[in-house]
Symmetry: C5
Subunit: 308 residues, 5 copies
């Protein structure tokens, strides 16, 4: 995720990193070439005539397309923001569970027992991140979990859920030993359900993209529209056609490109969520409550995103 | 549900499977023929004149139609996504119940008792799927449930709800035997309520489509608009009329067709939810927590969808 | 509520029952007549000229109107769908309460006590339906409730709330007798709160329509627009004016008419909610859990709606 | 709040009370005069020419404005509907608390103790109404509360919250006396939290209007647009300019006016919420559960609104 | 946050403070100058011709842009309003916790113990405000917290969360001493979870702006559109071009500017949330329940905002 400091309105016009302009340049150049052809055909420089004489049908298509694209943006953005909310909830539940472990038991628990709990809780966001990005969790989990738990988690197919079960077993062990009373067990249970909801919610977003037919149809409409627009504009605006055709194409293609990036919020595109930083922040927030020293968060300069 | 890997922007223009283009081809061909007639009538090749001379009223209708279609898309997509969320919640509640059965009892329960619970819980998504698709659950339930429960469930009219009641009875039996304390009963009760909400929510979506009058009216407007558009375009763009008329018709008809597919998210259209895979995933996620071997999930190649 | 089986795209163009076309026919005929006048005035068949020469202002008004109408549709549909969700929640809470009565008591309750509870719970949706439709609940309640309760409910002003209180008293009676432990009382209490929320939510929708000024203003704009449109179209499309004017009028008036029907979702218009069937389904779902024989649901053919 | 019975489509065109037409008449007359000037300038009746020759820029501005106005309407309506939901929740929580007081104590409470609770609960909506409307609660509270409580409430700055605290103290008193068990205290606590949420939610809406810059900017755009529109229309539609200019101005100004009324839902404009009636209904619903006679609700004819 | 009393419709046209007009003036002057150039080029006063002859492409771009800008406004406003809701929830949870401390313990707690709790609870909104605005909390916290707690909080990285943990420890201390029973601990726990959700929610909004690519793209489109519009308008409206170009530019730029202000609701722009006043109000509301004298709230005249 690219986060830029608040820019002056003029400097923002020139922003390069984090905008989708770089990836669109070849396609915009294509539109530019088509515009040149349209101008040439109109000015009888080419032996054929492709004159449409009118922008009217483009107005109709363009505005309808804006409405449909608006719908798609909305749906994609909702997915992105819901994903962010789920990770935010993961932070909240982790903090609440931390508070519960520190304050709900009827007597202070031994230090090593407490550490066991936080070891598993701190590894959970990392396990979730690797599951969502289909990357290898081995290194991150090995660095955090004790050997036995590490092996159990690696053997399971849904690793974050297994860690969640382990947290429940930890509560059970202390409840049976009388250190946590039945009421407090219920309080833990509520937040463990919350963790369950976060895991399942992320899995839902990653496994169910927007209906494919939508994406295809809007994609086609955008590109057909942009490719034919120069022929509609050339009669009214002549040699300015390339400027406007490229500008309109930029607006529509960029919208479509951003929507398609944020539709899958757990990817590694520029505008996707900073899962790595967020996992570290969750771990760090938990350690802060425990009074442990800060974790080194990913350097914003090195990774291109800032998240505090 | 058709899920395609992330396609290159150019290959996406040519996507065939999963788009609604195949089903629309005959209707688009009809629009193409109407356009030929319009061109012929305009060029005095036909003895009658059907000249409208203007695209202005089509602009007005087309944009208004885009707004209304945008509303319908939105409502249909909300139904589809809510349905997906309900199935996601079913996964979450199943995981939470699994954790509760494994960790809340005051003493470890006998293995066969635990299996009883998971047998019923694992059959529930299948029973729900068959109810929503009005298909025959006999085979799937017989393969999973013990004989007595199978007969009881088959005799009931709302099968998933009966399974939910059975889970409650299981909790009650162990509570009366003292294996589950009253506080834990309440924790179970909360998640059983959640299952109740999922079942009822799915039934609501399946039994209450979008108001019929909306669908009819938008359908009519789309088709009347597309059929008359060629006569409005022909005066400005002449022989390009068939290209644009078919293109606009594709945009509007495809939107309407997709909205009408996803409006009923539990059907078996290309863009409907992959209920079968989701039922298997829920069962598999539960088995994973129990440490049992993985279920064979439906092969994506064979069924045309992927859901992880 | 009219629910039609999924229609072929062509048959849908001709649908009559359940569409708002029948009720709009006289008004559309009026627009047709105005169009004839506009054509006549334009062709110098009338001694006066009413020529506007342009569709431009109509484009502006029409599209702005589409945006406003889109807002109104959205708000009305949200009311309709929220109403449906509340009734869905009533089903969910009823099922959950059924499960609780059957499984939460510390010992099985006598059959007649259980029946008392379900008698009141089964009558609640009927009482709510009659309150929302301002119809006479006497017959439905008399057929379901024992005499004493019937009289108490009939004497109260908010009948479903009185039934909800009665359910609470039932729980209290068994709690004081030791059959329901304090924790279980809280579980009941949660779902009784849910019933309270459903009742209050329905009362809110029925007592607070969309701000009247909105409805009036959009109504006026739609009808003024439709009545003046022929004079704007006639110069560009001549004798096709009646066709297009009626078509546009149909689109806008139908939208307004549907929005105004579903805005009050508890009425008895074609597109309103099938409260009668839903009350029966809730009762039937409860009976199914109790193992009692099915209720005869209203016949779809006879009542024009299907709800499963 | 003006609520009109469902009107015939034709009578609705003529509705006067409750529409914003009366308040807009002077401004519409101003637009009418500007239109006359535009027509005169165009027909060379004035020595200056103000001819714009085109509606094109107005089309652009008008439709963009419709989109922005649509956004503002939406936001205002959401505030209005959320406010209504909060008052609905107040009714629900009051009913739930009533049920709890009547059924949760382990033994029936003395009548005067019960009355104490309902006295405070019944006064709460009135106290909230006066706080939201910044009116004097003295009379309404004096008529309902016992002297000591009245003085305590009048001395506090956030009166409804003080009443909420008093309800908590009442529960505490009976809990310490053993009449309410600890579990039931938690059930009360949940609904008291709900009351807290309602009070805070209403305070939020009343203290945080829509960002002022939005309102100003949309207001300016609407009025500039309406005032300059006649000069854009006059060339195309000549002497019909006054009719259309006033009609378009009505549509846009009315939208803005309604949005600005309902943005502050707790005011006393025609379309604001009927807080007075709602306070009485909440009190009446509570009394109904207690079996007390009905309160005289405000007469709809006298106050211009109906709310059942 | 600028809050103005309800203005007369005419005075609102002239509002200066709180509108974004002041900050836009230089840019609007630039558009004015471009318009002058466009008029001069069109009237052959300049040696070059920049004539576009048509507004058609601007209509297309402008309306599409309005749709996209509408989406951005919506998303920004949702962030702003969600932020406001979170602070509202903070007030609600604080009131609920206050009620719980005063009424849930099984016996009245010593005054100094109660004060300890409220000291920390009252400092929490201030700590949160400083974290969100990245300002120095030292002064505000030193004035409120006892020395030991102050040092602990200052040493932590997430100060509000540390205060939340402290509240949990306070509950634990009294629970272990027998003054708070296990059920009541759960009630406290629920509201402490709520505080956790508020803190995390605010951190989420502040750390995750709208995807940067959106902001850049819409910014560019708005400014390119406004800068080229004069050349499109000049042929139709001649010397009125500067008036309309500046007016349209104002509408679009102001929308973009407001959206970009409220997108970061915790800043100190004119339309951002009045965090300082809100912190004071939360503290004051808590003190009111405790019967303590009112805090001096920030003077509206001095700070430019009012929030009650």
């Amino acid at each position: 995720m690219i986060i830029r400091p608040h820019l002056h309105w003029f400097r923002m016009l020139l922003a390069w990193r984090g905008s989708v302009l770089p990836q669109l340049l070849p396609r915009l150049f294509l539109i530019f070439c088509i515009s040149i052809v349209a101008v040439a055909a109109h000015d009888h420089l080419l032996p054929i005539s492709l004159n449409l004489n009118t922008t009217a049908p483009f107005s109709l298509i363009g505005i309808a397309l804006a409405v449909f694209l608006g719908f798609r943006n909305n749906a994609s953005y909702d997915r992105w923001w819901e994903a962010r909310k789920l990770w935010g909830q993961l932070l909240n539940e982790s903090r609440s569970l931390t508070r519960q472990v520190l304050t709900l038991p009827v007597r202070p628990l031994p230090k090593e027992d407490v550490r066991e709990f936080f070891t598993a809780l701190g590894a959970l966001p990392h396990a979730l991140r690797h599951q969502l990005r289909k990357s290898d969790p081995r290194e991150d989990l090995a660095a955090r979990l004790p050997q036995a738990l590490f092996e159990r988690v690696m053997a399971s197919r849904y690793k974050p859920a297994t860690l969640m079960l382990y947290l429940g077993e930890w509560v059970q062990r202390h409840a049976r030993a009388g250190a946590i009373d039945p009421m407090a067990v219920i309080a833990f249970d509520r937040n463990l359900n919350g963790i369950s909801d976060v895991i399942g919610g992320c899995e839902r977003i990653v496994s169910t993209p927007l209906p494919f037919a939508y994406s295809v149809m809007i994609h086609r409409t955008v590109y057909f529209f942009c490719a034919s627009l120069p022929f509609g504009l050339v009669d009214s605006i002549g040699i300015f056609t390339p400027v406007f055709a490229v500008f309109v194409a930029y607006t529509f293609m960029a919208h479509e490109a951003i929507a398609s990036q944020i539709e899958e919020p757990f990817g590694t595109d520029d505008n996707d969520l900073a899962l790595h930083t967020m996992s570290m922040v969750i771990e760090d927030a938990m350690r802060d409550l425990l009074g442990e020293p800060a974790l080194p968060l990913p350097s914003p300069e090195a990774e291109g995103y800032i998240l505090n």
